[in-house]
Symmetry: C2
Subunit: 237 residues, 2 copies
């Protein structure tokens, strides 16, 4: 079975967390909206299709046979079970998912550094508020979240977040660190200094053969100022 991933074709965004899992699993998938303009129409059509019983609120969503699965963390929960990217025990699956949901919370706060007033408004129309929010984020929130994940790595001797093997949570943490380095290069140098386990985890994931091949390929969309992680010099203080 070939998976169909539906996500915006121009950004990494939330879809990237799913792409990383599919790539690490060497799963057979097509990134529908990136294949052609027809693919993009198919995405929009599916969002509006009144015959779908389980309509997604927003991309990304994954078609897996008869299933249409929405919500990034939910898709990863499903893929984790299919491709051994999560433990098999109930306790292990819940814990991996819990970490993923905490990253989802973190991601909203990262996004809102440049869009504190409204996701439908331009950055330029909320720049002043963004400066206040980004300052608070870098001073209070980023240290709290990054400290938490560093702490989880400290409690688990393997260097991975969960158990002895890589899970989708490690792939997602890699992506968050990678994105934060792009968005806030100056602040991240400071933030990683005392949290070397994060730096090591990032390098370890980036060095996995399938991930390394993916990152070097054209399938990896470069970071840009349309996505969740955005670099605006004035916010990186």
């Amino acid at each position: 079975m070939r998976y169909e991933l539906y996500y915006w074709p121009e950004i990494q965004g939330r879809g990237e967390f799913v792409r990383l899992a599919l790539e690490e699993a060497a799963a057979d998938y097509v990134d529908v909206a990136r294949t052609s303009s027809k693919g993009m129409s198919a995405l929009v059509r599916l969002l509006d299709d009144s015959k779908v019983n389980t309509p997604p609120f927003a991309p990304p969503f994954l078609r897996a046979g008869k299933l249409i699965i929405g919500q990034t963390a939910n898709i990863l929960f499903f893929l984790g079970g299919q491709h051994r990217l999560a433990p098999r025990t109930e306790a292990g699956r819940l814990w991996t998912h819990q970490l993923q949901l905490t990253m989802a919370d973190f991601l909203v706060e990262i996004h809102d550094t440049h869009h504190p007033i409204g996701s439908g408004l331009y950055y330029e129309d909320q720049r002043k508020e963004a400066q206040r929010r980004a300052a608070d984020f870098l001073q209070s929130r980023a240290p709290k979240f990054l400290g938490y994940f560093d702490d989880v790595l400290t409690r688990n001797a393997s260097g991975y977040l969960v158990g002895a093997r890589l899970t989708y949570a490690d792939l997602s943490l890699f992506q968050i660190i990678d994105g934060l380095r792009y968005a806030f290069p100056k602040a991240m140098r400071r933030l990683e200094r005392k949290r070397q386990r994060l730096t090591t985890l990032h390098a370890r994931v980036a060095g996995r053969p399938r991930i390394a091949a993916y990152l070097a390929s054209e399938r990896r969309i470069p970071f840009n100022t349309q996505g969740i992680f955005r670099h605006y010099k004035e916010l990186d203080e």
Copy 2:
């Protein structure tokens, strides 16, 4: 086995979504931090306990035997399986969880109407930004989310969100509608007018014997301006 729920004792907050599920299931549970000041210390101690292998990032978390489960949607996923508050099929469990995660996204946006700059700052220090954000929320975001859930109810003939029976997603949607009515009474009258299925769902959940008994009891903490749903007259336009 008696569940232990750990959550802040003064607010409904995210803990309320778990409380509603436990109440509907008539589960044996103790709301630890509300029992005594010792309970509150136990919550704080558990958050900081370096011997816990699966530390929660924040309350709520649930102790179920040896498991400590964090993240509201993750707790509900677990309880749904234990107490038949979700379908048994994989497709049904994923769909119910997907709806819950969309409500989690909605909840962050509801919270941020009064805290657009920083959750650690006072409302009074971000009142101006809150007015801009709340206006955008009521004009664009609340209609989009409420319209989505109304649409899901339209596609499912039972009057519940998923299948033929009540799930934890219905309990959570009840809570969101209830909270929005408290926070934005004026706007909600307008928003519910064309979305009668939401009004009906709310009444149906409120009328279930165990939920009705719970809402009338002292276990239900009243809404207040410390929680996620807050009523500030100037934001309700």
